[in-house]
């Protein structure tokens, strides 16, 4: 963060206790995993808009159908565990309203889920919110990180379902983001990552207090970088223009 931005922020910061109240938290910037990954090749104008836009802000809507299949598989897997039990074939009913190809992929993914995740768990709706407030950074970590659930011994698990064509790999940034999002939900979380169509699953990874410490250090640097960039947002033409919510008025497209 540059000096001017830091000054502005500190000037604007009221009493700390007041600032962490739920109402004040709604004003904190929204920070998603994509924002934490953003670097100088990303557009800081879009970054600023997304971090600070209110829900009633007018914006260009992006295409949502691309996430439909993934969301449907995850939703049905989640519903399969409304109580402590194993998922079964009856939990995955082919969604007839989707295209034939999406249905085929859904059916294959369902087979993959049943094979890779045969254990009995119970979905824990406590984490089923989109945001976690971080008083440390005065931001809201925003976005889903998988299916939060608990096993018979009440151990917290996070199931991450992938639909790609490659074997699953450990995504360090995602793991750190999951550690931040699950803070306050469970001290230790077992992370299970499965690539459903490939029928491959990583060995379980544990989010421990030590992992959270690493995640906090990493996110502190990433949030500082993001704040520094959005203090003086500059449009940058490139891949961020696709699906951009704030094309109107962008100087990169004035010509």
């Amino acid at each position: 963060m540059n000096d001017a931005a830091r000054d502005t922020q500190e000037d604007a910061a009221p009493d700390a206790q007041e600032d962490t109240a739920p109402d004040a938290q709604e004003e904190w910037p929204r920070v998603t995993l994509r924002h934490l990954r953003a670097d100088e090749t990303n557009c800081s104008r879009r970054l600023a808009f997304e971090m600070h836009a209110r829900s009633d802000t007018s914006k260009n809507r992006s295409a949502r159908a691309a996430f439909e299949l993934e969301q449907r598989v995850e939703a049905d897997a989640t519903n399969a565990h409304v109580e402590l039990r194993c998922a079964g074939p009856a939990d995955f009913r082919t969604p007839r309203e989707l295209t034939a190809e999406q249905q085929a992929a859904y059916d294959a993914a369902a087979i993959g889920y049943l094979a890779l995740f045969p254990d009995a768990v119970r979905h824990d709706p406590e984490l089923e919110v989109w945001e976690t407030a971080s008083a440390e950074h005065r931001v809201r970590w925003s976005g889903r990180v998988g299916i939060p659930c608990r096993d018979a011994s009440d151990q917290a698990h996070l199931r991450r379902l992938l639909l790609g064509s490659r074997a699953p790999q450990l995504d360090r940034a995602w793991l750190f983001f999951a550690a931040l999002r699950t803070e306050g939900w469970a001290e230790e979380v077992v992370v299970d990552v499965g690539s459903l169509l490939v029928a491959d699953r990583l060995d379980p990874i544990m989010i421990t207090p030590a992992v959270r410490d690493d995640a906090r250090r990493w996110s502190a640097a990433q949030v500082a970088r993001a704040r520094d960039r959005v203090a003086h947002p500059m449009p940058r033409m490139g891949r961020d223009c696709l699906g951009c919510p704030c094309v109107a008025g962008c100087k990169a497209h004035d010509g």
Binding site: T41, N60, R61, S62, A63, R64, A65, A66, F67, E68, L69, E97, L98, T99, A100, E101, Q102, A104, A105, A108, A109, I111, G112, A115, L163, G164, S165, L196, L197, V198, A199, D200, M237, G238, R239, C241, L242, G243, C244, V247, C250, A252, H253, G255
Partner: protein
């Protein structure tokens, strides 16, 4: 099908070179790959070799010259990829490289917003390499696979590239645009004829892309497959597409579990 055109396209549809080429080849394939992002059911090819060669060409030019054999050897060794195939592809680039260029840049991300209300779209392209020399913006697309066209202009993907590149000519001090495909695989003898669009060509491309977006909005969610064995045979959805001329069994590994 439950999708509305707005959920499929968003407020401002995006157009990319590969997406537009896919749309022109088969609307169904475009729907599945670009709008719905359905995982491919049938393996086609691994992009790993192409990505590797692209990355090496960028690294070589970012830090030196491609005709400096010692430098090339060092870059390849630093990345642990000093194999014969990669080296052969780099060598094939060297004879085509406009090293006398005033400026060059690799992996350039560009976008262009088309705004003729009510029609809007955002075109985006990642250009492998741009060289500026002799008043020309010389854009290169490195190809490590098969050759599909005799003239670059005939590739819909190239027309999207030209559309996003054109506004940048004055900024780099160029008056002409050239798009060239560099085929680096040893089995390809000649590159296709480069494309040097003039103002009329560029205006026609803008109209063509606008018409394609109009066509998308008018499709009402109907994206029929082309049903041509030649095209379907190499499609990543050939086994699950209802319109496939070459249907079969999907190759998702998970389906082998019960066998």
């Amino acid at each position: 099908m439950s999708h509305t055109m707005r959920t499929l396209l968003g407020d401002i549809p995006g157009i990319t070179p590969s997406g537009y080429a896919s749309f022109r080849r088969c609307a169904r394939s475009f729907l599945l790959a670009n709008l719905l992002r359905v995982p491919e059911s049938d393996g086609r090819f691994s992009p790993d070799r192409g990505l590797l060669v692209h990355a090496m060409l960028k690294a070589i030019h970012d830090h030196g010259r491609c005709d400096d054999a010692e430098h090339v050897t060092q870059v390849l060794a630093d990345h642990g990829v000093d194999d014969e195939v990669t080296r052969g592809m780099i060598d094939r680039h060297v004879v085509r490289c406009p090293r006398a260029a005033q400026r060059q840049k690799h992996e350039v991300e560009l976008a262009r917003f088309y705004r003729q209300p009510p029609l809007m779209f955002m075109a985006h392209a990642r250009i492998d390499a741009i060289w500026v020399h002799d008043g020309m913006l010389d854009a290169r697309d490195y190809k490590t696979g098969a050759r599909h066209v005799d003239r670059v202009v005939d590739d819909p993907a190239a027309r999207v590239q030209a559309f996003v590149l054109a506004p940048h000519l004055p900024r780099v001090g160029a008056t002409r645009l050239r798009l060239r495909y560099e085929h680096l695989a040893p089995e390809i003898d000649d590159d296709p004829e480069p494309f040097e669009p003039d103002a009329d060509d560029l205006a026609a491309i803008a109209d063509e892309l606008a018409r394609a977006v109009e066509q998308l909005w008018a499709s009402d969610g109907e994206f029929p497959g082309v049903g041509d064995a030649l095209i379907c045979g190499s499609c990543g959805y050939r086994s699950i597409c209802p319109d496939s001329a070459t249907p079969g069994e999907p190759l998702w590994p998970v389906l082998m579990l019960g066998q």
